[in-house]
């Protein structure tokens, strides 16, 4: 969180009195409140900025400002309605708050408000998200950039996991040897408490100077204990949630076709990083896996005609092959994918690959098909039709200009998912990391079943795969609010046998589990269910049939409004107080879609600069805290007409 004052020719600092980040995680559902109070020390009124970063997976649920005892509260409205207000405000020359993309994992929320001389303002932003388990752990990420010393600075996290906490780790990019002991961590069987609250002096970069050490990411990682093969089912207040990631399952061998774009646009760094990542990924193949390599530009070639067992010799040979890949020519994604599908289907039909194994295609491309079939919609249809549910397609979209929505829909129609690979020195690690996430399937075709008459409004309960280190989450509403147990069954296909477990779940008695705690936040299971439902409806909006898209949009909007979530369909509107400069004006907070984030990044690359609401030409000054970004944009140099 950080507070900024407006740039002006005669800057007078606003003093940040306090910055508090309070995060409560209850059964993976994180509820974070960021509070900041500032004092306008100038003898005239001035604009005070509040800028915080929140994870892009989080939904803002509330925002308020308290000025002179008066509280201005945000209201979630349908995006179109809010936009009308916003447009009206802009056309009358007023300013509005916005959410902007910020790096790979975060987005920035910023607002400004005019504060009278010697007055205080308190900003409170709340957001919620369901933490996702990746590579065996959950991560709570807090980004703090107060930019100046803060009288009261505090990060507090309380984690409540009735399933039991396996471990908790913390680290921060700004933690020096002096600050490290200030992180308090108390872990009991089902609760963890983490606190970090450096004093003014402990925040200082050096004795007597004003610079602060607090600038960066504070990260908490943890996992829960897993003992039951049925998973963990929690029933609270008429809603249930089922977390499924059973221990002790063997990995199912995979048959993977690497479909690699080596067209001209991949030349340079992208191709270099692809070669490096492929070398690393090939070493990670297990001996019982089968693999194929299909590089393509406008021509489609292949390393070997059929899938090959991942023996040491074959991997060595393949490694040499990928080292020789170079970029040139056009991009025939359609033809390459169909070749991959054909190889898997043929090898399966001719029993060259094990019967109990999972088929997958890993497409690595920077997009822009320009050879063969070039219509993205037709490529999506062709792939889904050729695949016919026989394999999973994972797409890795390389670079900032990749058409992510094309790859996302393409993968979703084929039981998989897409991931953006950001251009940067760590692209090789990103590629390898994604492969690690999806290369260890434990179960396929997983169904989580609940009695029809006991539950309704279920979130998705069928999953193509369960990967090692991930977790399946299903939530729903109980038809009978008084029900406190019901029969649960999970079936799937494992390595050697079919997986099938049954059991009864019981309602959780929070008072017994956490006797010393007051009611944490009672409706969290319902909110978790709402969050998950909205996420899935938003996905359906992209890949479903046209009827499904309309229904999903209407339902997601209705739920976003009902539960006060700022999603891509809604906006939060806060009305700023009237000032001598003008009447009330609304502030608008939106949720960005991945496409909007990408667009914003492009704009940020091309137009990396601060916009200023004032009419004076803004002047940078070393006395004024200036915005900082994750990675500074490259300088730009140009010449143009006036």
């Amino acid at each position: 969180a950080r507070l900024l004052q407006k740039r002006s020719t005669q800057p007078v600092r606003a003093e940040v009195l306090s910055v508090k980040v309070d995060c409560a995680v209850t059964s993976r559902f994180a509820h974070t409140v960021m509070t900041s109070t500032a004092l306008n020390k100038a003898n005239v009124s001035q604009e005070i900025f509040f800028e915080v970063e929140l994870p892009k997976t989080a939904f803002i649920t509330n925002f308020s400002m308290e000025i002179d005892g008066q509280v201005y509260v945000g209201e979630v409205k349908e995006k179109e309605t809010a936009k009308k207000q916003y447009e009206k405000a802009v056309s009358s020359g007023q300013t509005a708050g916005l959410v902007k993309a910020s790096g790979r994992k975060m987005e920035t929320f910023s607002v400004s408000v005019n504060i009278a001389a010697e007055s205080n303002v308190t900003f409170v932003l709340t957001h919620e998200e369901l933490l996702q388990r990746k590579l065996g752990q959950y991560e709570i990420l807090t980004r703090v950039k107060p930019k100046q010393l803060v009288q009261e600075f505090q990060i507090v996290a309380n984690i409540y996991e009735p399933q039991g906490i396996a471990y908790v780790e913390t680290h921060a990019t700004f933690l020096s040897n002096e600050l490290l002991p200030l992180v308090e961590k108390t872990v009991t069987e089902k609760k963890a408490h983490i606190a970090f609250s450096p004093s003014l002096d402990q925040q200082r970069k050096c004795p007597g100077c004003d610079g602060t050490l607090i600038d960066g990411d504070f990260v908490i990682m943890y996992d829960v204990k897993r003992t039951s093969s049925l998973g963990d089912i929690q029933i609270v207040n008429g809603y249930f949630v089922h977390f499924f990631a059973p221990p002790g399952l063997s990995r199912v061998p995979t048959n993977v076709v690497f479909v690699i774009d080596r067209s001209g646009s991949m030349s340079g760094n992208k191709m270099h990083q692809t070669r490096e990542a492929m070398v690393a990924i090939l070493q990670d193949l297990k001996e019982d896996d089968y693999f194929a390599i299909v590089p393509f530009d406008d021509e489609i070639i292949w390393w070997k005609e059929t899938l090959t067992k991942a023996t040491k010799e074959n991997v060595t040979e393949a490694t040499e092959y990928v080292k020789g890949l170079y970029a040139s020519g056009g991009t025939n994604i359609n033809g390459a994918l169909l070749k991959g599908v054909n190889m898997l289907l043929t090898d399966r039909a001719e029993k060259r690959i094990p019967e109990r194994s999972i088929n997958m295609i890993l497409l690595l491309t920077d997009g822009m098909p320009n050879h063969g079939e070039t219509d993205p919609k037709r490529i999506q249809e062709n792939m889904a039709s050729a695949n016919a549910g026989n394999m999973t397609l994972f797409s890795l979209g390389f670079g900032n200009d990749v058409d992510y929505s094309f790859l996302n829909v393409l993968s979703q129609k084929n039981k998989g998912l897409a991931r953006r690979i950001f251009e940067g020195s760590d692209a090789t690690l990103q590629l390898k990391g994604f492969y690690e996430e999806v290369s260890s399937p434990l179960l396929s075709e997983v169904d989580l079943r609940y009695p029809d008459n006991a539950v309704d409004l279920l979130t998705s309960n069928h999953f193509s795969q369960l990967f090692n280190g991930s977790e399946i989450v299903v939530a729903g509403r109980l038809a009978d609010n008084n029900l406190d147990n019901f029969l649960v069954e999970v079936v799937g296909q494992g390595f050697e046998d079919n997986f099938q477990v049954q059991g009864k779940s019981a309602a959780l008695d929070w008072a017994t589990t956490y006797p010393d705690e007051k009611y944490i936040f009672g409706d969290f299971t319902e909110r978790l269910w709402a969050y998950l439902t909205i996420q899935q409806l938003l996905e359906k909006r992209k890949s479903g049939s046209s009827d499904e898209k309309v229904n999903a949009t209407a339902k997601a909007l209705d739920m976003s409004l009902r539960y006060s979530f700022v999603t891509p369909l809604t906006s939060m509107v806060v009305t700023k107080p009237e000032t001598e400069k003008g009447p009330d004006s609304p502030l608008i907070a939106d949720k960005l879609t991945e496409e909007e984030r990408q667009q914003a990044e492009r704009n940020s690359r091309y137009h990396h600069r601060q916009t200023f609401p004032s009419y004076n030409a803004p002047i940078p000054s070393s006395n004024v805290p200036v915005p900082s970004y994750n990675a500074p944009a490259p300088p730009s140099y140009f010449v143009d007409g006036d």
């Binding site: 067209s263 030409a617 002047i619 500074p632 007409g641």
Partner: protein
């Protein structure tokens, strides 16, 4: 034309204008090590406007990448690309994407030409189309470098000399002629220059209206900021 040096690390920008007689050719980028050369020719208005000021614009750029054997001429009339023995002509009225040997071209109809030259430079040329019957103005071009980090430290030219950064400080802020544009003293290259806070426009996101970029304006054709004088960058031919 106005030159803009944006320095995101400083959250600041520098700008200056350079004008000369219509027809003059300036060297914008010259890197002998990587074999890159960008020259631009200016053009004037159709007639001298009522205020008597002669405005000039770039209307033609010559670009050479010696190591790739690429030569390009981009003008308001069209684009010619020569590589080794082949020649390609493109019209601004088409949208085209070409992935060549060491060179990618993306032409957006009547708007922009993005060129990526392998392992060296990426730039965008914007086309500003003016109403044909405009009494004074003509079509003109803007040249924006997007990625220059692979160029050698010896890169020079009116734009190129700034590719590896510039150190300066600004002090003594004082009221200027116009209230919104204060003056200040800039310390750069061992000199003290009188500069004025103002704006110049970046047209990449909105080719019609542009976007105002606040910058320190260096008077007298950038004298004191650029190495030597603007006239030192005049050359006789586009290539």
């Amino acid at each position: 034309p106005h030159f803009m040096i944006e320095l995101p690390n400083k959250d600041d920008a520098l700008c200056f204008n350079i004008n000369d007689k219509p027809g003059t050719i300036f060297t914008l980028v010259k890197d002998t090590k990587s074999g890159i050369l960008v020259n631009g020719q200016i053009i004037g208005d159709k007639q001298i406007p009522a205020d008597g000021k002669i405005y000039t614009y770039f209307w033609r750029f010559g670009i050479i990448h010696r190591n790739l054997g690429v030569k390009m001429e981009v003008s308001t009339n069209g684009i010619s690309v020569f590589q080794d023995d082949s020649r390609l002509k493109l019209r601004w009225s088409n949208t085209t994407s070409i992935k060549g040997d060491g060179m990618d071209i993306l032409l957006t109809k009547d708007r922009s030409l993005t060129v990526t030259l392998k392992d060296s430079v990426k730039f965008v040329i914007l086309l500003h189309k003016v109403w044909k019957k405009h009494p004074y103005h003509r079509d003109y071009l803007g040249f924006y470098t997007l990625d220059t980090h692979l160029l050698s430290p010896s890169v020079h030219g009116l734009l190129g000399q700034f590719y590896h950064g510039i150190e300066y400080t600004v002090s003594n802020l004082r009221p200027g002629e116009v209230p919104e544009k204060p003056d200040a003293t800039m310390h750069v290259k061992g000199r003290e220059l009188n500069v004025t806070r103002g704006w110049q426009r970046d047209f990449r996101s909105d080719v019609k209206n542009g976007e105002n970029v606040p910058c320190w304006f260096i008077h007298r054709n950038g004298t004191g900021l650029i190495d030597g004088e603007a006239s030192d960058y005049i050359v006789s031919g586009l290539f």
